[in-house]
Symmetry: C2
Subunit: 197 residues, 2 copies
C-alpha cells in the first residue's frame, strides 16, 4: 500500500481556502484534515478532537518537550500547534494529510520534513481579494487593508513554495489541488521500490 | 495566455507507451506531439511532417550547425533528431508538447532546457513487461531478453527523472499523466507574474 503524503495549504485571508478545502475533503473521504492542538479553552459548541485538541498548558508543554509537534506558536497568550501523532497515523494508513496553517508554520514543517508539499492558494489578483474581503462585510476598511497588507507580505514569503493554485473558481482550484496530490504520488522515490523487482 | 510546457515521455519497449500517448492526444487536441526529423528515406505510406520530417543529410547537418535540434543521434547510419522550431512554435501558442524519445535524448534535452519535465512510463513489474513482450509475439525470446536487459539499464538511468507513471491500466496511466501536466502548470515561476499586480 502506498503511504500518505502531507500537503500544506496556505493562503491569504479571504482567498476562499476554507471552501476549497471543504470541497476537497468532501470529494475524497480518505483525506485527513489535521486538527490543531491548543491551550485556548473551548468555545460553546466546540468539540475536543473535532475543532481542536484541547490541552492544558502543562500537557502542551510536555508535548513540545517530547517533540510531538510538527510546528507550534503562541498567539495572544495561547499556544497552537500541529501534533505529529495524528498526521503520522493517517499517513501510515495511506491517507493523504491536509494542513491548513500559517506561512511561518509551513516553513517549520518543511524544514523538519522536506517531503511535505507546500501549496499556496492565491487570488486571481489583489484587487479581486480586496473585493472578496469587502464583500464579506464582516470587517471595516482598516481591517481589510491590514489583511491585504499581510497577504502581500506572506505572498512574498511563499515564492519558494512548491505550487501556486489560483482560486478563480472553486472547481478550478479543487481540480488543480487534486492534480498536484496525484502527481506528487508519482515521484520516483515513491515508485522505484514498486518496480525494482 | 499561459505558455506551453514540454514533457518528455520515456519508457521501455513493450510498456505500452504508444497506447498511452495516443489516448492522451485524443483526449486533448491542443497537445502537440513532436515529430522527429530524420535522414532515413521515407517508407511506403510515410508522410513528410506526419511520421517524420524527412531531411537530406546536408540539410540535417545545417540544422545541427544552426543549433536547431533539441537533441539528435545517429542510428544505423541515419540521423534522427528533435527539431526546436515546431516545439517552440507550439509552446508559444500555449500548447503543451510531448516528446517520445530515448533516455539519452531526454538527458540532452533536459541539460539544454531544465524546465522540461521528464516522465518515465514503467511496467507494474519486470515480469509483467516480459509477459507483454512475449505476448506481442513479434520477437523471438533472444530479442525479448535483450529488450528486457536494455529496459532495466534505462530504468537505472531514469532514477533522476521527475515522475514515474506505472502503466498497470491505460486509464490509470493517462490519469496520472494528465495530473502531472496540470500540476506542472501550477509551479510558482509560471504563476507569480499572474498575481503580482
Amino acid at each position: 500500500m502506498r503511504k500518505g503524503k502531507t500537503f500544506i495549504i496556505c493562503g491569504p485571508s479571504g482567498v476562499g481556502k476554507g471552501t476549497v478545502v471543504a470541497r476537497l475533503l468532501a470529494s475524497d473521504p480518505t483525506l485527513y484534515f489535521s486538527v490543531s492542538a491548543t491551550t485556548r479553552p473551548p468555545r460553546a459548541g466546540e468539540e475536543n478532537g473535532v475543532h481542536y485538541h484541547f490541552l492544558s498548558r502543562e500537557q502542551f508543554e510536555q508535548w513540545i518537550a517530547a517533540g510531538d509537534f510538527l510546528e507550534y506558536a503562541e498567539y495572544v497568550g495561547n499556544l497552537y500547534g500541529t501534533p505529529c501523532r495524528y498526521v503520522d497515523q493517517a499517513m501510515e494508513q495511506g491517507r493523504d494529510v491536509l494542513l491548513d496553517i500559517e506561512i511561518q508554520g509551513a516553513e517549520l514543517v518543511h524544514q523538519k520534513r522536506p517531503d511535505t508539499v507546500r501549496i499556496y492558494v492565491a487570488p486571481p489578483s489583489w484587487a479581486e481579494l480586496e473585493r472578496r474581503l469587502v464583500g464579506r462585510g464582516t470587517e471595516d476598511m482598516e481591517k481589510v487593508r491590514s489583511r491585504l497588507a499581510r497577504g502581500r507580505e506572506e505572498f512574498a514569503a511563499a515564492r519558494n513554495f512548491d505550487y501556486f493554485v489560483i482560486n478563480d473558481t472553486v472547481d478550478h482550484a479543487v481540480g488543480e489541488l487534486r492534480a498536484i496530490m496525484l502527481a506528487e504520488h508519482c515521484r520516483p522515490c515513491e515508485r522505484i521500490s514498486l518496480i525494482s523487482q
